[in-house]
Amino acid sequence: MSNTVAKKRPEYRNIHVTQILSYRLPLAGKLSILHRVSGAALFLALPIILLPLFDKSLTSELSFEEMKAWVANPLFKVILLGLIWSYMHHFCAGIRYLVLDLHVGTDKYAAAKSAASVFAASLTLTAIFGLKLFGVF
């Protein structure tokens, strides 16, 4: 009991919003937070963009043409590209989570590798659908 001067114990606090950028997340962590962001974006877009677009596309031949006119607008194309990325990322990352839930690929290296594969797949798919959207092919 000679050592009475206790060493100062480290204090752990939650990350404050202003510190988010100075913390380096692993790739799987970035994938995870983007899964959340993309899901929230799709949720918000649902009644203001996605369902109205679905409505226009189905109601009549005339509204189908109106839907095409909406999609032809460059600003709308940019918004749609964002939603396409959201969908692709959410879809691919979601499949990764379903596989992880089956206890497949849960070790550190496999998880990092599958996270990289998800980014590769979702960005490639976004590029393909984006090029189609902007009429490249």
Binding site: R36, G39, A40, F43, P47, L51, L58, T59, F91, D101
Partner: protein, 125 residues
């Protein structure tokens, strides 16, 4: 007699929320299959026009509106899936109970509104 009543009632445990956890995954699988099916239908339909597009949603089998029902089931899966996901976001980031409850109620109303809108769209075609 169950041992989980009255003063013996289990009030803590990681399994609370398991139902939602499972539901979120099942709805995800339903949506994935529906979207892939729809995507393949689009890709393998030459000269896609309005009539063919509508046909994906209002086709019937023995006068049963299968196209509408499949789309509705996929969309209801979407709304339930989104409800759980958005609820999780509020539970993680919003600590004051009153604000959290308000946001959860708005989320539910937002998605129920979407479900009504989606059903209306489908049954108009």
């Amino acid at each position: 007699m169950t041992k989980n009543v009255g003063s013996k009632r289990l009030v803590v445990g990681a399994h609370y929320g398991l139902k939602e956890w499972v539901a979120q995954r099942i709805t995800a699988v339903i949506m994935a299959f529906y979207t892939l099916g729809l995507f393949l239908a689009i890709v393998f339909t030459p000269d896609l026009d309005y009539a063919k597009w509508v046909g994906f949603f209002n086709f019937t089998v023995l006068s049963f509106p299968l196209g509408k029902i499949l789309a509705l089931l996929a969309l209801l899966s979407l709304f339930y899936h989104a409800y759980i996901g958005i609820r999780d976001i509020w539970m993680d980031y919003i600590k004051p109970t009153g604000i959290r409850l308000t946001l959860q109620v708005f989320t539910a109303l937002w998605l129920l509104g979407c479900a009504g809108y989606a059903a209306d769209i489908l049954w108009r075609v």
